[in-house]
Subunit: 213 residues, 2 copies
Amino acid sequence: MPQASPVRKRYAARLPTEQRREQLLQAAQTIALERGFHAVSVDGVAKACGVTRPVVYGLFDDRSALLAGLLDRAEHRAMAELAVLFPSVPGPDDDVDPDELLVAGIRGYLTAVAGDPDTWRVILVPPEGAPPEMAERVNGQRRVLLRHLRGLLDWGLARRGGPGLDPDLFARAVFTLAEGAARLLLEDPDRWQVEPFIDFCRTTLQALQPVRA
Amino acid sequence: MPQASPVRKRYAARLPTEQRREQLLQAAQTIALERGFHAVSVDGVAKACGVTRPVVYGLFDDRSALLAGLLDRAEHRAMAELAVLFPSVPGPDDDVDPDELLVAGIRGYLTAVAGDPDTWRVILVPPEGAPPEMAERVNGQRRVLLRHLRGLLDWGLARRGGPGLDPDLFARAVFTLAEGAARLLLEDPDRWQVEPFIDFCRTTLQALQPVRA
DNA sequence: CTCCTTTGCTACACAGGTGTAGCAACACAG
DNA sequence: CTGTGTTGCTACACCTGTGTAGCAAAGGAG
């Protein structure tokens, strides 16, 4: 039986700005992952935090700033993980096995994904509902990574040789497969593990030797 | 200067049911491809056809029926193209080169995609805005295709041998790469052509010989 | 030329979301 | 225990989209 007189809502616990901000972003992310980016509304996020809309508008200019914050957060986290794990291109005289270097890089990537699935879901699931400008930003980061991978592969091919594959397509193929593996890890973490992908990767690389004359 | 008296809207050209239906679906598809599935509104589709909402509701129960119609249409077209082009698994005694069979299949797929890009965009761009049930249907078709591909590869590996790759991961890798190539074709048809992918594919298959003891 | 069916239009009620103005409660310094 | 600033709340105006009821125009059958 509803109250006749309008009862004032019990005040939510007061939080310092930064903490509230983080809480809101976390809630937004949860909604985005459960029901898609287009389902992230200022109202919904506020409710999820037991708070009202003006609180959100106090910390974000508008809905799209909220979404931007969400993407930023995921991007920074993801990039921070990658920066540590991804191998840089060795010099021409370094004594490193190219195949093992690549394998290690891919293992690092997949391990990072498996270790912080929600962050990576934001990156790897194309956020259709988000403003197009953000999809563009994610693609920009993809290009950066792709270029780095390309450098690594070029170095490796120069070092050890390989079949006469178009190097651009080769880099893209490796990239696509790595992202595909990452998506499988995210989709069903119980079924998929990192190591089988690594084995697959190593075996394939072994097969890709220079053509025998 | 706006009319003071409410002018009746000029009647749109009257169309027979089926034709109007097709027109509406086409308009819905265009909107979905330009601005995402979530941006497909009954109102928007009606306007795009120079018509009012009740006309749409006459042909589709509600918004989600409209979306379902759009997906159905793309799915049927895509499957019809594939049914013709995709090779069936040969018997154990057929005299076919496995590599060339696979290459021909992939070429058929990519050619179909390049030849009817809008239809395939609907399939290959995960429609986040669409009801989840539809994403599920597209994934179902993916599974069917994946299973077929798996059959083809198993037959090929039995016939010609290959490196000791996990056959499930191998099938998924081929599938992922083929879809990746298709997405590139859709993304920038001027830059990407079918044949370079085919060359890449053939070269890679040649490298994937049985391990030499 | 008149019916009458088919196709389309106007108008409404409603739902859910955005963004803002102004007030109320809390919590901490003094 | 009393300011006083910060954090949060209520209430409103507005917009866009949904779905429906009932009327108006078109155009072919007779």
